[in-house]
């Protein structure tokens, strides 16, 4: 545990002394801020329209603003996750510092866990900016906080899965660009296959849409439903991603 923390701290430091963390935070804040503005404006306009028509349709800020925004944050995250994970191992392998880690009295999984946690922490920092947006909703409205909290938990789980995949990809190459591009491709595929199940009902399309990380988030956590089934999906995926990273690190010892 202590070793994991040492690695975690070092990685987080690495993010914040380079421009990458600030760039990611800014971009994420701008993009999610834009969508917040878009959805909120739609919501307010819709409300005004309803008032003018004199129809008293119940309006739900959780349903109409928070949920789409959470799904949105998840999708935006897909684009940023490769940039978080691409350097994790590729950089160490390129510069040779992997030799320091691999010859220190520290277990492989401690290194992997520390790195993955640091990536997750950076992602959580990015999410904090969306939380700032939501803070306005709480000031001027009266949304329910519980679905929001569950939504954030879901976002973290979803990102954790993609970050674990990204960590694994990064451990396969010395080249950050390749690691980033491949991770991006995988993230993209995992996103688009969620729509396969919408039109097709064959077994294969069901399997494909089950594999999509977005389905597991959109249909449960984003709605404020704490779903054990989807949580298990994410946790299994995270475990598998990190497990394969460990195998990949071990294979370094055998072929190099």
């Amino acid at each position: 545990m202590r070793n994991t923390l040492i690695i975690w701290r070092k990685e987080l430091n690495g993010y914040f002394v380079s421009p990458i963390a600030y760039f990611l935070l800014t971009m994420f804040a701008v993009v999610s801020g834009f969508f917040f503005w878009l959805y909120l404006r739609g919501f307010v306009e819709y409300g005004m329209e309803m008032q003018m028509r004199g129809q008293g349709m119940p309006m739900n800020i959780n349903e109409q603003v928070i949920r789409p925004l959470l799904v949105n944050a998840g999708v935006i995250g897909l684009f940023f996750i490769p940039m978080i994970t691409m350097r994790l191992f590729a950089e160490e392998k390129r510069s040779g510092t992997i030799e320091l880690l691999a010859t220190s009295p520290i277990r492989d999984w401690e290194v992997i866990l520390g790195k993955w946690l640091a990536a997750l922490t950076l992602y959580a920092c990015m999410l904090l900016f969306t939380a700032l947006n939501f803070a306005f909703l709480f000031k001027y409205g009266n949304p329910d906080w519980k679905p929001l909290a569950i939504g954030y938990l879901g976002l973290l789980l979803q990102a954790g899965t993609l970050l674990a995949i990204g960590t694994f990809i990064s451990s396969l190459t010395k080249n950050q660009i390749i690691a980033g591009a491949v991770t991006f491709g995988i993230c993209l595929v995992l996103w688009i296959i969620s729509s396969v199940g919408e039109f097709e009902t064959s077994v294969w399309s069901q399997v494909l849409s089950y594999m999509s990380v977005l389905t597991h988030f959109e249909e449960s956590f984003a709605k404020g439903v704490l779903s054990a089934k989807d949580a298990v999906f994410f946790l299994t995926a995270i475990f598998l991603g990190l497990f394969f990273t460990a195998r990949s690190m071990e294979s370094l010892r055998w072929r190099s």
């Binding site: 002394v17 992997i98 030799e99 880690l101 220190s104």
Partner: protein, 351 residues
């Protein structure tokens, strides 16, 4: 706890009695092999290193030095064979081994975005140090490796010499029993090379040191023992003293003989020279009409007189007879199978 383990380690070492090494063994390598898909990088290498010794790991580039060192540090796993460090097997108890090893790879493993002090703190923590002890060790290694003045500088901005010394500082930060240094002086200027050698020498005694190099004087200056490997195989392992003695004891002589009346049977001369007592090897150098030069090596002692007598008594002319020194360099080249292209022996010079 640490001392208990050390005690245990030493008690294991007492099992290895009967080995001609007075000091307790620190590193034992048995039949170590690393095979890749196409080639064998290290081929059944065995050697032992006593506690507190400085051992030079010598060999041409690509001989398998780095691979062997990486197997000792646990960075690579051997295909077969075994290696123990301080009594712990590198495969069975890698963490115990890693606690006791300080390793400086060929390129120092530095994070360019870290400051020197920050980096040493990170490495110290990785190796299990913390608190006041860590601070004490950082101050100590900074002073020892002369990097105190760059403590607040970014590693990425340091010169090659400083990078190497910071690399050395990180290797000794946890006061390891064994230091493994992969070409510690590569890329340094002569002054820095000397400083680094002195530093390594001063580290011996407390630490068992294996350093790899392809520079011979370095071994002669810093090491007590030499392990020469070539093409993945062990070529020789001996003390520097012995190798040097071997270099001095052996004599290499260049001899040029010609016949009285212009005709001379080359093979006859060679056979005659080989018969001289003490001669171990005769190599034909040049064979032209009236110029027949040979390089004669003797196992020990002085053979020049006997050679001259043999030539004259056979009725030939002795045109030239001069000793060519047999340096450690030549022994090395001989062992590693490279062509000894000594300047002294070149035919042009003998004209």
């Amino acid at each position: 706890m640490f001392s208990v383990e050390l005690f245990k380690a030493e008690s294991v070492q007492t099992l290895h009695t009967g080995i001609p090494c007075i000091k307790p063994l620190m590193i034992t390598v048995k039949e170590l092999t690393k095979r890749y898909a196409r080639n064998t990088a290290v081929d059944h290498i065995s050697f032992e290193v006593g506690k507190g010794q400085i051992v030079g790991f010598l060999g041409p580039n690509g001989a398998g030095k780095t691979t062997t060192m990486r197997m000792l540090t646990g960075f690579l796993s051997p295909t077969s064979g075994s290696a123990t460090v301080a009594g712990f097997d590198v495969l069975e108890q890698p963490l115990e081994v890693k606690k006791r090893i300080g390793y400086l790879p060929e390129t120092p493993p530095l994070y360019p975005e870290m400051e020197t002090g920050e980096y040493l703190t990170f490495v110290g923590r990785l190796k299990g140090l913390s608190g006041a002890e860590l601070r004490k060790r950082i101050d100590y290694v900074c002073e020892r490796c002369a990097v105190a003045d760059v403590k607040n500088k970014l590693l990425g901005k340091l010169s090659k010499g400083y990078r190497q010394r910071v690399g050395l500082a990180q290797a000794i930060i946890h006061n390891p029993d064994v230091l493994i240094l992969d070409e510690p002086t590569a890329g340094l200027d002569p002054k820095q090379i000397n400083e680094t050698r002195d530093l390594i020498k001063s580290l011996g005694g407390d630490h068992t040191i294996i350093l790899s190099t392809h520079i011979l004087p370095e071994v002669e200056q810093t090491c007590e023992q030499v392990i020469i490997i070539n093409k993945g195989k062990l070529a020789a392992t001996d003390s520097v003293q012995n190798l040097q003695n071997r270099a001095r004891g052996a004599e290499s002589v260049l001899i040029e003989v010609s016949g009285r009346n212009g005709s001379l049977d080359f093979a006859t001369v060679q056979r005659r020279l080989e018969q001289v007592a003490g001669v171990s090897r005769v190599v034909a150098r040049q064979h032209q009409e009236n110029r027949n030069s040979f390089e004669v090596e003797s196992g020990k002692g002085f053979v020049r007189g006997d050679l001259a007598r043999a030539v004259v008594e056979a009725g030939w002319d002795l045109n030239e007879l001069r000793p060519t020194a047999m340096s450690l360099e030549e022994i090395f080249l001989q062992l590693t199978g490279a062509q000894a292209d000594g300047k002294e022996g070149s035919p042009k010079e003998s004209q």
